[in-house]
């Protein structure tokens, strides 16, 4: 649709899925995220890069209010999903998280069967009217996570028995089974070997067609491979945000350049 990257930069014509303005995060007395403004687009893969501890994962966890589970964490500012403030008092984080799914750094399948792992979300959200519905959701989710072929004969086997790469794709299947609109991925490949990483990256590229995908990654090569837009975080601030091609070839901020050329990080 948007073949011209220069047009995309202005972002007027693309749908904005998530818009954050003046976002601050505190852990106790620590100011972890300072003044982040970012517009995340629909049907795009956005990569958050930056050195360890720069706050990229923290910010990601703000987007579906996973930070609510940490007692000392406090979020200020304005984050909107489709124009609705997700930190509004009336918003139920449970409903929000159903719309904004998450995949974690370490594969964390539940100690249940593969089928039950995937069916968990649809069950709690009541997405299936009958067993046949559920079967279909499980199958299509596993297909979309490109793992159906490997597990279709052992859906009753425990999810913890799969290899690392398979577990992570199972977690992705689990996340897409709830039909989210946004998929957050927190370093989804850091615990995987190169082959599994390639499979997951390929999958992310395909998921872009349906979801807005936000991925936190440590690897600049990965950001370059899978994302269309890249945001560079440093010491809790958003330093630069733009088309991935631009960020990597022609960064405007000297800090971004230092990071990309390997001088900080």
């Amino acid at each position: 649709m948007y073949d011209n990257p220069d047009l995309a930069r202005t972002t007027v014509t693309r749908d904005i899925k998530i818009a954050a303005h003046g976002c601050q995060v505190y852990y106790g007395d620590t100011h972890a995220i300072r003044d982040v403004d970012i517009d995340i687009e629909d049907k795009t893969v956005t990569a958050f890069i930056g050195p360890s501890g720069c706050g990229k994962s923290t910010f990601l966890r703000c987007l579906n209010r996973m930070n609510d589970t940490i007692d000392i964490c406090r979020v200020e500012g304005d984050i909107r999903l489709d124009g609705e403030d997700i930190y509004d008092k009336r918003v139920d984080p449970v409903q929000l998280r159903a719309k904004v799914g998450m995949v974690f750094q370490k594969p964390n399948p539940f100690p249940k069967s593969i089928y039950d792992n995937v069916a968990y979300g649809p069950r709690i959200h009541g997405l299936a009217r009958c067993k046949a519905d559920l079967d279909e959701i499980v199958e299509s989710s596993l297909r979309r996570a490109a793992i159906w072929g490997e597990v279709k004969d052992r859906l009753d086997a425990p999810g913890t028995g799969l290899s690392g790469g398979q577990q992570q794709r199972l977690c992705i299947a689990r996340a897409v089974a709830t039909e989210p609109e946004v998929l957050l991925m927190d370093e989804p490949c850091s615990a995987l070997d190169p082959i599994a990483t390639a499979q997951v990256e390929e999958l992310i590229d395909e998921l872009r067609g349906q979801y807005s995908v936000v991925i936190v990654t440590h690897s600049m090569q990965q950001a370059a491979r899978v994302s269309q837009k890249t945001a560079f975080f440093h010491l809790g601030s958003l330093v630069e945000y733009g088309e991935t091609g631009h960020i990597f070839t022609n960064p405007t901020d000297p800090r971004t350049e230092s990071y990309i050329t390997g001088r900080i990080g």
Partner: protein, 461 residues
């Protein structure tokens, strides 16, 4: 990869599109949130019930037991009449000893009648007749009051012929009346006290003759027989517990530490070690009564150690606490980082030196904490003591010296409390609750010491 997944998704089963606004919860979410609130409520209720039980338990203990620390008595001017106590008049101790306790009854009665007269109290008891050796007035006094007077005279024969103010213990019914345990209704079927007595007590109280005072004898005194609850004390049983704890500490600390050092630092990974470890964790869960059976069969029947002796109690409790101490000691040894051992070994210390010079001192606070908690557990343990005979009316004499403290029959605090709980007279229940207050004070002190030790010396590596 192909585009198959995409077509899959678009042609998926009819799913309700989540188009609703985030700002209003849909019906299903509301239902789920209600379930969430209910679940949370169960949790709060469970915690609340737990705390309620604790509060109820403490309330029961303190409301019932605090009375044991006060005891009713009369301040009477006792005239030690020479014509009763020493007819020969030569103050020969043997002669004075030959006067039995019941001869002191008239002195008590006379002193009480004088008080009644002085305060102008009108009571039919003032004219009560003495039949045989007893008078209705006697029911006001503790059975032990006469022997208290006799002991006073035997200790100091010069009292004879004088009039001295003495605090005389009231009988347990009178005490119960002042504390609200005995009521006018409840004495109707009780032959130990009549309504006229209560009328008199009311007036004596107004006159300041019958008063409640601090009951030191309860804390330091020996147990008393079934008929004299007002004299029963926990002091001797406390000594019994003390001697037992000395045995437990002297045996379980060195043995427990030695065993833990071996298992944690030296033991090779083999079957023998495995057996010991499994053994210890199972021993920790063996019911305490089984240790009592062990003590009875091995220490008393087989080795012929004296029955009811604190030494045997201490041995049984040692075996019972050892697993606890070993488990906590091993945990604190394990908490010392290996780098400390490596550092010591690196400068040429032997393994034994590394452990005794470096690891053990660092683990000491944890070991002591575990030991104190183990001792507290042993202090409150009752069941095994019943089997080795540390129960019954045996805590009635102070041990005369350290050796008899270990070997002479004695009770222990919890066993004494059990003994009181079994007796028929409700006056003993108050004693039992009071005993529990004392026991809990000891346990609380021990636990606070353990907590302070842990706070002050605990290191985080």
């Amino acid at each position: 990869m192909t585009d198959v997944p995409f077509t899959d998704a678009s042609s998926g089963p009819a799913r309700p599109a989540r188009t609703g606004s985030l700002l209003e919860a849909d019906a299903r979410t509301r239902r789920r949130n209600a379930a969430e609130a209910r679940f949370r409520l169960y949790g709060i209720a469970a915690v609340g019930v737990g705390l309620f039980f604790l509060a109820a338990l403490l309330y029961a203990i303190f409301s019932n037991g605090i009375g044991a620390f006060q005891q009713t008595g009369y301040t009477l001017q006792i005239e030690f009449r020479e014509d009763v106590l020493d007819k020969t008049g030569n103050r020969d101790l043997e002669d004075i000893k030959s006067v039995k306790t019941f001869a002191y009854s008239p002195l008590l009665r006379a002193a009480m009648l004088r008080e009644i007269e002085t305060h102008g109290i009108d009571t039919p008891l003032a004219d009560a007749k003495v039949t045989g050796f007893s008078s209705p007035l006697d029911k006001l006094f503790s059975d032990g009051a006469r022997s208290t007077l006799r002991d006073m005279v035997l200790a100091d024969p010069s009292l004879i012929g004088q009039t001295v103010a003495v605090r005389i213990l009231a009988s347990s019914r009178v005490d119960g009346y002042l504390k609200g345990r005995v009521s006018r209704e409840s004495i109707e079927r009780d032959k130990n006290l009549d309504a006229v007595h209560l009328d008199l007590i009311d007036k004596l109280r107004e006159a300041g003759v019958a008063t409640k005072g601090f009951n030191l004898a309860f804390i330091t005194g020996p147990d008393a027989s079934d008929a004299r609850p007002e004299q029963a004390g926990l002091g001797v049983a406390m000594l019994g517990s003390l001697y037992m704890m000395i045995v437990v500490l002297a045996l379980s600390l060195p043995i427990g530490v030695a065993a833990s050092i071996y298992l944690e630092e030296f033991a090779p990974q083999n079957r023998f070690t495995d057996i010991i470890e499994v053994n210890i964790s199972n021993l920790a869960a063996v019911p305490s009564i089984v240790f009592g059976i062990l003590g009875l069969a091995v220490f008393i029947q087989f080795v012929h150690l004296p029955q009811s002796a604190p030494l045997v109690g201490g041995l049984v409790l040692t075996l019972m606490t050892l697993p606890t101490i070993i488990i906590s000691t091993r945990a604190s040894l394990k908490a010392v980082p290996p780098s400390i051992r490596d550092a010591a070994l690196g400068v040429g210390a032997s393994k034994m030196q590394a452990v005794f010079h470096h690891v053990l001192p660092l683990a000491m606070p944890g070991i002591l904490t575990g030991t104190i908690i183990g001792l507290a557990q042993a202090l409150g343990e009752t069941a095994p003591l019943l089997l080795i005979g540390m129960v019954g009316f045996i805590a009635s004499n102070y041990p005369d010296g350290a050796i008899s403290g270990f070997l002479a029959p004695n009770s222990a605090m919890p066993a004494q409390i059990y003994e009181w709980a079994k007796r028929a007279d409700p006056a003993f229940y108050e004693r039992a609750w009071g005993g529990i207050i004392i026991l809990l004070l000891f346990l609380m002190t021990m636990n606070i010491i353990a907590i302070i030790l842990r706070r002050r010396f605990e290191r985080r590596w």
